[in-house]
Each structure stands twice: as C-alpha cells, then as structure tokens.
C-alpha cells in the first residue's frame, strides 16, 4: 500500500478514535458530575446510546436551506480541526496519526476553530427561534472574550519557540521540556481561556437552560442534534489534544494520551460543577481581566526569554 492510502486510513481511524474517546469522555463527565452531586449517574456509554437514538429519530423540521447545512458545517469544522492536530506522535503504534501539518498551521487552527461556530450561527439564524438567536449572539460574544487570552498565549509560545507549527512546537519540547513549565504564564492564560472554550462552569451562558431553553440548538432535534453531538465529541477531543500537544509535548501512545487529556479535561469540568453561571458581560470582563493579563505577561516573558 502506498503512503496516500495509509493517510486516508489514518484520517478515518483518527476521526473514529476522536468520536469514541470524545463520547466516552462525555459519558465520564456526566458520571463525574453526578458523583459530585451525590448521585450514581448514567453509565459511561450513555452518550453512545443517546447519539444512536437520535440518529434513529425522524427529523421533520424544515426552516430552510441553511438549517440543514449548519450541523454539517459544524462537523466539517470539527473534523478539519482534528485533521491538523497531531493525535499521536513519535514512531509509536500508529505512525499515521501525525496528519496534515504544515508550517503555520497553529494560526490556521485558530481560524478553523471559529468556523464551526460561525456555520452554526448562520444556520440558527434561519430557524427564527429567539432563544437560539440570543444564544448565538451570547456564544459569539463569549468567543470574543476567550479568544483573546488564548491567542495571546499562542503568540507567546510562537515567539518563544520561533515556530508556528504544532509539530515545530513539539520538536522544541523534545529538546527543552514541556512548554507548560518553560512558559507558565502562557499555560495559565490558555487554561483560563479553556474554561470558556468548553462551555462548562461559569461560562455556559450560550446554553443556559434556565434562560434560553437549550440555547443555540433549540430548533435542532433528531438527526441534526445527533450530528451536533457527534461533532461536539470530536471537537472536544481535538481541543484537548491540541492543548496536550502544545503544552505537554503530545503523547506517544494511547494510554498516555488518555491520561493527559483526561487530567486537562477535569479542570473545566470540576470547576464547572461547583460554579454558578456568569452573565455574558461578566464573563467577558473575566476573560479580559486576569487571563489577558497573564497572556500579556507570557508574551513579555517570551520576548525576553
């Protein structure tokens, strides 16, 4: 078999892996939150059942063309993001998981991570549900909030390592140790931004049930919701792997990857379980406060490094 087909198989395997791990994480998160709430919680495979059931439901909702496209755009964006994140590194078990990397892909990724949300926003705009529309506007404002410290952290890393490629970052870490330790302020800023990225905890304004029903996906049921849940699982996994790659030097096999991502994932989950929700403007103020300060500090630190 030539390299091309190896890559194709690699893509499919990556997506499947991301979906499975993402959905298992979703189930585990529900279980862990349930444990903090004195409950037993659903089984770890509950998300698979949910998604399977949603795929088996009818979807006789028609609000127009964009509405059908929106979940597809979301899943496209998630898969694309995943494609550019090296899942497993080194010459370990699955050498093909390095995927499509090129010089400068970190900047491209930042754009790509927004793409899915924008696609959803377009589709949701057409459903005409005011709850969904407000949810979208809140989600986009939140994004403006957390993207700034996140991008600042990335810029700090780029300045420090003088590369804009994820593989470049990982090569740097091979020589100099984890960036988490050599660039601590960038890590702090990025983790604080991550709290917003996962929509848990105090930053779930976009999906706040007691304010906006289900928020953006209000009008999406059945297969649309299943697609969105699938895309959400993949996207969550991709984001986690990205964080592990740029701060913890990736993972050379699956077990280390699971451990690293799970530890990182617990930060927003556990913080979210015990925090009430911020209002939109409070959340943005939060992101533009300490996280941005740490981001700026990280850049200064990186310049004089």
């Amino acid at each position: 078999m030539d390299e091309f087909w190896m890559k194709i198989i690699g893509f499919v395997a990556t997506v499947l892996l991301a979906f499975v791990v993402g959905a298992v994480y979703g189930g585990l998160v529900r279980k862990i939150i349930a444990r903090t709430q004195n409950r037993i919680g659903p089984p770890w495979y509950q998300n698979f059942i949910d998604i399977l059931k949603l795929y088996s439901k009818s979807s006789a909702i028609n609000h127009g063309f964009m509405q059908h496209i929106a979940p597809a755009m979301a899943i496209t964006a998630s898969v694309t993001v995943l494609m550019f994140v090296p899942v497993l590194t080194g010459d370990g078990w699955f050498p093909w998981f390095e995927n499509l990397n090129f010089k400068g892909d970190l900047i491209f990724l930042v754009y790509m991570m927004v793409f899915g949300s924008l696609g959803m926003a377009l589709g949701i705009g057409q459903t005409g549900n005011p709850n969904a529309a407000i949810g979208v506007s809140r989600g986009l404002s939140m994004m403006v909030g957390y993207e700034i410290p996140f991008v600042m952290a990335l810029v700090a890393l780029m300045v420090q390592t003088e590369t804009t490629s994820i593989t470049g970052l990982m090569e740097y870490q091979d020589q100099h140790g984890w960036l988490m330790f050599s660039s601590p302020f960038a890590f702090i800023a990025a983790v604080m931004a991550m709290l917003g990225m996962f929509h848990y905890g105090p930053f779930d304004v976009a999906f706040a049930p007691s304010e906006l029903a289900s928020g953006p996906p209000s009008e999406f049921g059945g297969k649309y919701l299943a697609l969105m849940m699938t895309s959400g699982s993949i996207f969550a996994f991709a984001k986690l792997v990205l964080f592990v790659d740029i701060f913890m030097n990736g993972a050379s096999n699956l077990i280390i990857l699971v451990i690293k991502t799970l530890v990182l994932y617990m930060i927003p989950v556990l913080y979210g379980a015990v925090s009430p929700r911020y209002r939109t403007e409070q959340a943005i103020r939060y992101f533009w406060g300490w996280p941005t300060f740490f981001g700026a500090l990280a850049i200064i630190f990186a310049i004089y490094y």
């Binding site: 709430q37 659903p42 059942i49 059931k53 009818s58 709850n131 049930p209 289900s214 009008e219």
Partner: protein, 181 residues
C-alpha cells in the same frame, strides 16, 4: 435481500434498545405533579441512571410527561408542544387527574380524559404519584418501546380527525400551524 425479515429484526432490536435506554423528557411541568419530578431527578432517586434526561425544547424530547391536570389554556400549549416533537414520541399521563379528572372532575377549566386529546402510552395513577411510581411508569414505557407497543404517535396520525375534533371542541380560538410530521 435474502434474509430481510431477520435483518429488520436486528435493526428493530438495536433501535429499541437505544430508544428505550435514552428517554429525553420535555421539561414542561403542566400541573402540580411536577413537584415530584425534582426528587426523581436528583440525588435520592437519580433517574439519570437509566438514561432519562430533561430536555428544554420539544424538538429534542422523546417523552411528554403530562404532570397532572390540564387546564384548557395549557392544553393548547401541550398539543402544540406534542406536535413539535420528533417521532418516535411518547406520552405519559401522570396522576389521577389525567385519567378521569381526579379531584377536579367537575371543574369548569380542566379536562377530564387526556387520551381524548392526545394519545397516551402509559398512565401513572395516584395523587400525587411517588417518585417510585413515576420511575415504574417509565420502566413500563421502556418495556413497551422494546416490544414495539408504544405507538401513540402512529395512532395520533391515523385518527387525527377525531383528535382534532375533540381538541377544537375545547380550544375555541384555534390559531395553530399544522405541522407536517
């Protein structure tokens, strides 16, 4: 296909398993029965163990839990919510007052028999039913889904005229879009 029946059976089994183990309930407290839902949801009875979950919008829900009597004003909203739900969908009548009016049998503003307005798959009696009763009703529904008996939505589609006539008898000002299923 050579073995069409058997393959269909397997598909039915898998969908039945998935549908019965992941019941999303519409968060609509139509009556006083809604006070026993929080205990059933929370740490003591914890119905998330069985894959039950509350969903905020009808589009995403599978089960409509009619928690108690329906005032005529609510009936209109319930019908609308029900018609927005995606198939397969199920209805649980919760409490005596959905069965025959219960305490409010002679009230001028509450309906007496829920199954004349929307199809009901499972009734849970009692006023008010305890969380255990609610969960046992839900288990019954799960069994019905596995067996393929919970076909209230199909019944509704087939007898739409009869249901509509009953509904319009009470809802005088009928300004609702007709949903295509």
């Amino acid at each position: 296909m050579p073995n069409d029946k058997n393959s269909q059976k397997i598909v039915d089994m898998i969908t039945g398993f998935a549908r019965s183990n992941s019941l999303f309930m519409l968060a609509y407290g139509t009556g006083c029965g809604d006070i026993e839902i929080p205990p059933a949801m929370t740490s003591r009875y914890d119905w998330e163990r069985f894959g039950y979950r509350k969903m905020a919008t009808p589009r995403q829900a599978d089960v409509l839990l009619i928690s108690g009597y329906l005032a005529t004003k609510t009936l209109k909203r319930v019908i609308r919510s029900y018609e927005q739900m995606q198939e397969p969908k199920y209805v649980i009548g919760f409490g005596s007052c959905t069965i025959n009016g219960g305490m409010y049998w002679d009230s001028y503003n509450t309906i007496n028999m829920l199954d004349h307005y929307i199809p009901v798959d499972v009734y849970i009696n009692g006023c008010m039913p305890r969380p255990e009763a609610v969960m046992s009703g839900l288990f019954e529904l799960q069994e019905m889904i596995k067996r393929g008996d919970a076909n209230g939505a199909q019944k509704y589609r087939e007898n739409l005229e009869w249901y509509r006539a009953n509904q319009k008898k009470i809802i005088k000002n009928w300004k609702m879009p007709d949903y295509n299923w």
